[in-house]
Every structure is written in structure tokens, then in C-alpha cells.
Symmetry: none
Subunit: 216 residues, 4 copies
DNA sequence: GATGAATGAGAATTCATTCAT
DNA sequence: CATGAATGAATTCTCATTCAT
């Protein structure tokens, strides 16, 4: 009996912090940290304002939880893929980026990027944490993928710092855009052919032996 | 006695609005709109709180003024360059982007991008104005430059929407980054060779006849 | 130890709005709307400033509540008396006026007259509401009482509009006076014989067959 | 030359305080003291805000000037009439009241009554001054007129305090009404026959030998 | 004298946080 | 655990008053 799933009420109790953080995330992304009222967060999560304080010490703690709770796993998963695909850097890069987009950038969680960009100035410690735990690891990961390709002679030897920004920032910006201006006026254009064109450009710039140009 | 206290009433009706908007811009960028207190804006501009209200009806009006006051000229200037350089699309694109970076993205004004991204959700009308007056015009401009190159057979024929994002977003993201996370933890790496590598990648992906690869 | 400090949180959701409105009424009457600070209202009601906003959206809403909350019942009660006493218009008029004085004009509520006179210019909509809901109904009521008397040949046939003002304004002015100048310098003189003399004058002017003059 | 009228500019200068007080009066009456901004007063008088301070030390001083400046002469004028008409108390009373209405109650100055009623609580000293300088003198005057009539056997012997209120308050209330509720919703009804009916009622109540009743 | 830009104390309003129930 | 009434510090905004020009 001790190993059976807990009763519904119990499960609810354990899920609460995540539910509250999820409600907070969408509001923080939408309106910013300062402009989001805890009333609203509580309402969206279907609890009373006081309940928030059973799980989080303060509004700032809620912010930290939102940031800290839900990004690290993705990085770890991608890091694990390196070993499996290190023999095929092109595919590795392609998968890594597509994976980021569909599992993070294009999801609710993608809002964290816009949020962190907006609030880094107000929460330097949280930003430092995020930088260490996510940004540095993620950019290192991209760097290692690119270096793998260079070592194998598949990618051109160029400044890796610049290269990974060049490769990643278009996707990152799409995600940020989606969570700010796109909400009220300039919808993101992401046609089906997006990744075709995106990778066409990326790899033509990147590959030592670019694909044959059909139009020539 | 040689250092008398500054006069309490300094009359500067002409210059004041711009000074106030400049002070507001840097604070809005740094802390966000909601988290910026008008006290601080006034203090940074060297005036009292009440003075702000001689020039702006409300905090929101100040926000609008910050956004509306100072971006349009750049777009117009770049639009004017098209005609002069339409015979050399590669140089035109290069100049347009470098110009954007050094006259906007890398300056104080670049903070407007980060600010607008952060606050679009709270000020949909301002965002709509900014979208129309700046974003749409600027992306159209980039689109026209790319189309010029395609028409002349210099650039490959690809989806212009995707292309201009791919080309512009790395620069835009640099600017946004510079005004958020870079301030507290992850400084932007922009080595001298940045634009060499940037344009190497861009044009290798873009040009119908890519440059010879010297390194191989 | 027997006198513990009062609990900081006293839950009285039911009674609060009325308590707050009562506190507001007396201060509004005493100092006027604009000169009354919400701090004072809250203090007089024994709550904090913020509590006011749990029950009223704004200072103006509080004003409306003060005006709207507590006058209508009196008019209705008086209207109901007409039917019961329509066969004796003299007594009906007498009762109506005495009733007004003791149940309204001379009570706390009487302050509403002075308040409305002072603030009509600043709150035209509230004034319009008060005019419709109270003034028009009350003056119509007085008019009907007078007409009843005329129809039965008890009262002289005169312009009812003027008549009811002549009859009512002395009482109304007493109430207004009581809530303004009387508070600081010129106390209202209301000797026991007031209503004797008042009705002596009123009915001598009004009655078709005036009472015999005992004093001559 | 020394006796000729001063140059235009000079005349203007001397008239200023009165002009400013007049502008202030109408605004104070309309919106109350606290809700009137000195900006508005200055604008209505066609001067700048700073100019007000050349003539009045403070907003309160302006209020005092408004109250003190312009009521006393009327009382004095009416007091002077007593001697001339003391042999005909009925006509004296009639003239005194009609005079009050047309030279004060119905004019701009009548607004002072509403103003003083509204602000007595906030300016006890001004109210005390007004009480002494105007109210007491005016009510005494009315009292003396009534006593004259009683001494001559023309008026009935009744409590003078009550009597003068009964006689005067309807007119006073008309004036107050005109300057508050009448401005936004309930216009004062003053038909041509007003004073006929008014005096009919007053003197029928007052006179020892009332006029013959034509309708009987 | 006159002006109007500048000031800053003061008031309304908001909202994170607390705590009795 | 959960609630939501109550709190009060913090912030926007107003406007009487000052003073350099």
C-alpha cells in the first residue's frame, strides 16, 4: 500500500508549486514581473492569494522558482545527445537546434527567455544563476558541437563565439518576439519551409564543402 | 565662497523634454517601465519630480515620448541610401546593417529594442505605433535590399521574410543582450573581427556566387 | 495583562461599508469632499486607509455611496403617510414636516443637504441622481399634500411651487445652517416653541379660514 | 494735472485685486475652495499664477478677501433705510427683502452665501468674521424691523428669532440653490408672481390685521 | 511689476504581505 | 491547509508657493 499512488488530494498538494509557477510564468511573460499582481497569479491558478505564501516566501521567490524550475533538464538532454551523434556534426547541430525550438523556444517555456531579458536588471542574482545554469551551458554545448565539426573538417574554422550566436540568435529572437510584439501586432512568420531555408543559410555559411548549388 | 549653490530654478524649457526622455530611456531599459520610479527619472535628469509633469501628462505619456521620439530618423536615413547604392546590393546590405549597429543598436537608443520587447504587452497601442513606424518600415527596407540583390542575380532567390530575419536577428539580439543580461553577468563578446565573420557567414549563405574559400 | 491589544484583523465584511460611509459622511459634511483626506475617514472608522479600497473603488465612489445609501427610505415612508391622512391635510402637512425634521434634518443624515449643496458643482451626475431620487420626489410629495388641502378647500389656492418652498425652506435652511456656520460661530436658535411659531405662521398664511387671533 | 484720471495702465493696476477676487469668487462658488486651482483663478482673470501672489499672500488670504471685500456695504445701506421708513414697517420689511434679493441674493455676490456655508468648517476665523460683520448685523437688522412693527401694533408679537428666519430663509435658500444644484439639474423656479405670493404668505402670517381675503 | 518654470509637501491609490479564522 | 480581510509602505500625480528672469 505504501507504494501505491497517493490519493487525489495528496497529488494535488504536491503539484501545487508547479501549477502556481506555471500560472506565474505566463503572467510574468505577458506583463513583466513588476506589473503582474499576485492576485492575478492566484486567480489564474484557482487559489487564493494567501495560498501563494504557503509555497513561496515572496514574489521574488516565486520569480526564482519560475526561472529555476524548468530549464535545466532540456540542456542536460541536449548534452547527452552529443556523445551519440559526435560522428555526424551536421546532423547533431541540426537536431540540437530543432530540438531547442520545438521543446523550448516554441513552447510556454520559451517565455522564460523574454522574461529573463526583461528582468535581468532587476534580479542580478537570478540572472547570474540563469546565466550559469542555462546560458553558459547552452552556449558551451553549441560551441562544442561546432568545434566537433571543425575538428572533423566538416565545418569551416571560424570564431566559435561569433558562430554560435549567428546560428542560435535567429531562433532565440523568434522565441522572444513570439512572446512580446507578436502578441499584439507583428505576428511571427514561420512558414513550413522555415527550417529548410534556415539550415540552407546556416550550413552554406558553415560547411567547408557547401552543397552543390542547383541554380548555378 | 567661490562655489555658490546651483540656482534652484534653471530655465531650460527647450531642452528639457529631450533630457527627461533620455533619463527615462536609460532607466526604463535598465529596470523596466513598471519598476522605474519617476523620482529616479527626475533625479537622473537633475530636476524635481513635479517638473516631469510640466512636460509629460503621465508616466505612460513619458513612455510614449521615449519610444516615439527618436527612432524614425534612422529608418529614413537608411531608406535614402537605397537609391544611391541600388546598383551594388552587397555593399548596400553591408552598409545598412553596419550603419544600424553603430548608429542605433550599439548606442543608448538601442535600449529601445529591449524596452519595447519588455513592454509591448503592457502598451499595445504604443507597440502598434512602434511596429508601424519602425519595425514594418525597417523590415520592408531590408526586404527591398534583398530583393534588389535577387533581381540583379547577385543574391540567391529565397524566402525574403526568413532571409531578413536570419540576417538581422543576430545583430538585433546582440543589442538586446547588451541591454539586459550583459549588464549583470554575460558580457557580449564582440571582437574586432565580429563583422568580418558575420558578413562572411551572411554572404556565403546569401550570394549566388560565393567568394572563393581561401583557407582550403 | 487583562487588556490585550485589539486584534489587527477584525473581520466585519457585512458592517464595514455602512461604518465607512458614516465616517465619511460626517467628515465630508464638516470639511467638504476635497478637503477630507481618506486617512481621516479610515481613522475615524478605525481601519487603515487600504481597507477603504476593499469596499469603495475610489474617493468619488465613496461619495456616491454616502449620498445614495441613506435618503430614499425617508421619502418613501412619508409618501406612504399621504394615503392614511389625506382626509386631514393640515395634520398631514404638519406631520410630514415635523417628521422630516426629527428623522432627517436634525440628525446626522441632515448633513447630506449641506454636502450636496457644496458639492453639486463637482459631481453633476451624483447631483442629478440626488435630484431625481430625493429632491424631485420630496418636493412632489409636498406639492401633493398642498394640492390635497386646496382640493378640499382647506388651503388657499396659490402657486404650489412657491408655496412648498416657502413652507419647506425655513426647515431646510435650519438643517444646512446646523451643519455649517452653527459649528463654529452662530448656533442655531431652536427654542421649544419653535414649531408652535413655525406652524402658526405657516398655517396663518396657508389656511383659507385662519385660526382666531387669541392674542389681540 | 494732478487731479485728472490716471492713465489706463494705472487704473488697471488699482483694479487688479478686485478683478482677481471676482474671478476667485465665481470659481470658489462653482467648485468649492479646495477644488479651485489658483491656475484657474489666474487664467480667468487673465493674469499669470505668479501675479496672484503680488496681491494676496496665500490662497487663504484670497478667500478672506473674497469674503471680506464685498458684503458689508449692502448691510450698511439697508441699515440706513430703517430710519427713513420706520413709520411704515410693512413697507420697510418689504423693501429690505426685495432689496436684498436684487442687490445681493440674485447677483454674483449671492454666491458668497453658498461659499460661506460650504467652507465655514474649514475657515472658522473667516466664518467668525463673516458672522460678526454680516450675519449678526443682518439678522439684527431684520429683527429691528420686525420689532418696529410690533411696537407699532402692525405686526403680531411673536418670537423675533424665529420670525426673521421664517421670513428670510426662503429667500436665502433660493440664492444658495441657485448657486449649487440649480447649476446642474434643478433650476430655480422664480415666476414673475414670486414676490406677490411670497409677501402674501409672509404678511398674512405676520400682520395683526391681515388683508381681506378676496376669495372668501 | 509680471511671468511661468521649478519645486516639494501632500493626497489618492496600489498591492505585496500578514494573520485570524 | 486554505482563505481573504486587513494592513501600510511605496508610488503616481497635484498644486500652492517660490523665485530667476
Amino acid at each position: 500500500m505504501s507504494e501505491s499512488s497517493p490519493p487525489r488530494h495528496q497529488r494535488r498538494k504536491e503539484a501545487r508549486p508547479a501549477e502556481l509557477a506555471a500560472a506565474a510564468l505566463s503572467l510574468f511573460v505577458e506583463k513583466g514581473f513588476a506589473a503582474t499582481r499576485l492576485d492575478e497569479v492566484a486567480a489564474r491558478a484557482g487559489v487564493s492569494k494567501g495560498t501563494l505564501y504557503l509555497y513561496f516566501d515572496s514574489k521574488e521567490a516565486l520569480f526564482r522558482a519560475v526561472i529555476e524550475g524548468s530549464v535545466v533538464p532540456l540542456v542536460e538532454q541536449s548534452e547527452a545527445r552529443i556523445e551519440a551523434l559526435k560522428h555526424d556534426p551536421e546532423r547533431l547541430l541540426r537536431e540540437t537546434l530543432v530540438n531547442w525550438w520545438f521543446n523550448f523556444g516554441a513552447t510556454e517555456l520559451g517565455g522564460i527567455c523574454k522574461l529573463m531579458i526583461s528582468e535581468a536588471g532587476n534580479f542580478p542574482e537570478v540572472a547570474a544563476y540563469y546565466n550559469e545554469a542555462v546560458i553558459v551551458r547552452w552556449m558551451n554545448l553549441l560551441g562544442r558541437v561546432l568545434e566537433l565539426g571543425m575538428e572533423q573538417g566538416v565545418f569551416r574554422r571560424l570564431n566559435v563565439d561569433i558562430l554560435r550566436q549567428q546560428v542560435f540568435f535567429p531562433l532565440l529572437m523568434q522565441s522572444v518576439w513570439k512572446n512580446s510584439l507578436a502578441g499584439c501586432c507583428a505576428p511571427v512568420a514561420l512558414p513550413d519551409s522555415y527550417f529548410d531555408t534556415y539550415f540552407d543559410l546556416v550550413f552554406r555559411g558553415l560547411l567547408a564543402a557547401p552543397p552543390l548549388e542547383p541554380s548555378r
